[in-house]
Each structure stands twice: as C-alpha cells, then as structure tokens.
Amino acid sequence: MNVLHADKVLDCSGMSCPLPVVKTSKAIKEIEIGQVLLLIATDPGSKADMEAWSRQTGNDLLDAHEEDGKFIYYFKRMK
C-alpha cells in the first residue's frame, strides 16, 4: 500500500449513491490544479462510480484500495 500526500480529505463514510460522486465533484473544486484529494467511502458501488467519475471529468485517480472495510481513493485535480 502506497501512502500518498493528500491536500484535502473527504469522508463519505455511510453515504450511498450518488453522494460520494456529488461530494467529490464539489471537493475537487476546492483544491488547486495539481493538488490531491483523498476520499474515504464505505459504499461498495463507489468503486466503479469513482473510476467512471475520474474518466468523465479527466481528474486522475492516482490510487484506489480497500483498507479496514473502507474504500480509499486519491484524486489529482487536472483541470
């Protein structure tokens, strides 16, 4: 497991679709281009959703993994 630096942390634990996607899209606008957002989610559906969100918005998904039953994502704001 690689430990990346995050400029902002967003905790969506306990939230269901579409909230992780909606909140991530808001949070990414609150960091600068090139900075990294860390998302913590518990929704198993977020795996496919966050990958799709990354492809659709062009923000890089640097890393995605599971840790203690939580889904951890690192996004780099690209635009």
């Binding site: 269901s16 679709c17 579409p18």
Partner: protein
C-alpha cells in the same frame, strides 16, 4: 451544439413522469451524478413528475399495485430487518397505511445514507441542472407558476426535444 464540438461536455436529457417516492429517486440520482461528472443536464417534469418541482413537494409511496416493493422494517435486529412482510392487499387500503409505508421507506433510506428527494433536488440546482416544468401539465392540474421553485423554468415538448436531439443520453423515467 455539442455533437459538432468535440470539446463540449456530454449531455443528458431526462423526462421525469412519475412523482411517487420510489420513482422520484432515479431521475434525481442520475441527474445529480451526471452534473457531478460535468455533464450538461436537462430534466423535463411532466404529468405526475411535475409535483416534484413544487416548493413544498412531499413524496409518498404505496405497496398497493406495486407487488415487487419489499416491505421491511428499518429497525430491530438484522434478522428482523431482513423479513419481507407479506401484507395482504386489503390491508393496504386501510387509512393511514400509505403514510406508514412511506415513513418506513424514508427511514430505511435515511439509515442507509441515501439523500432525501429534496436534498437531491437542491444538489441538481447547485450543479446547474436545468429543471423544466411542463406548461401543459401545470394547466391541466391547475398549478400556478408561484407553486414551483423559482429555479425551474416552464416550457413545452418542443423546447425539451430541441435539447434532447443533441443529447448523448436520453431517458424517460
């Protein structure tokens, strides 16, 4: 004209034609998710979907005529919550049953971390989703413009179709 411009965002054109609690979720979930992905979204609210744009919208659900709807309790031990209660159809017509079923479903959604319909509608507004109220439905059911949230616009079929013609995804819900 997004089709002609490769840099234009994806477009979703969606018709919301039903206004019960269970049917109100899919259009608002899809529209807010599309908005979160940077898509341009238009939602057209017609017939029973129109009340979803009312200022004081309040959605209900009934298992009557809805045989696939699970009837489960949102409280108690896990094994109790898993029971799908066999409710006789006759009981569903007892006064107060709709309110009970609605409250149980709303509580279940809350327990599972699902946003409310109003929260999702507010999210759509924040994401610049275009909310269009069907003029004809307003006239037929006797609604006034002031009954609806100020963020929505009022239009007819042609205005929606023009947007939909150039959309990448079109849905009727």
């Amino acid at each position: 004209m997004s089709k002609k411009d490769p840099n234009a965002p994806q477009r979703l054109a969606l018709i919301a034609s039903k206004g019960t609690l269970d049917w109100a979720y899919p259009p608002f979930i899809l529209a807010s998710a599309a908005g979160a992905m940077g898509w341009e979204v238009s939602m057209f609210f017609t017939f029973y979907g129109l009340p979803l744009l009312l200022k004081d919208t309040s959605t209900v659900v009934t298992p009557l005529g809805n045989p696939a709807m699970p009837m489960k309790m949102p409280f108690g031990p896990q094994n109790f919550q898993k029971i799908n209660w066999p409710i006789p159809t006759a009981m569903m017509s007892v006064p107060g049953f709709n309110a009970l079923a609605t409250n149980l479903m709303k509580q279940t959604f809350k327990n599972k971390g699902v946003a409310t319909i109003r929260e999702l509608r507010d999210t759509c507004v924040e994401m610049d989703v275009k909310l269009i109220a069907c003029q004809m439905t307003m006239d037929v059911f006797g609604f006034q413009r002031e009954d609806f949230i100020p963020e929505c616009s009022v239009a007819g079929a042609a205005a929606f179709l023009e947007f939909a013609a150039d959309a990448d995804v079109q849905l009727f819900i």
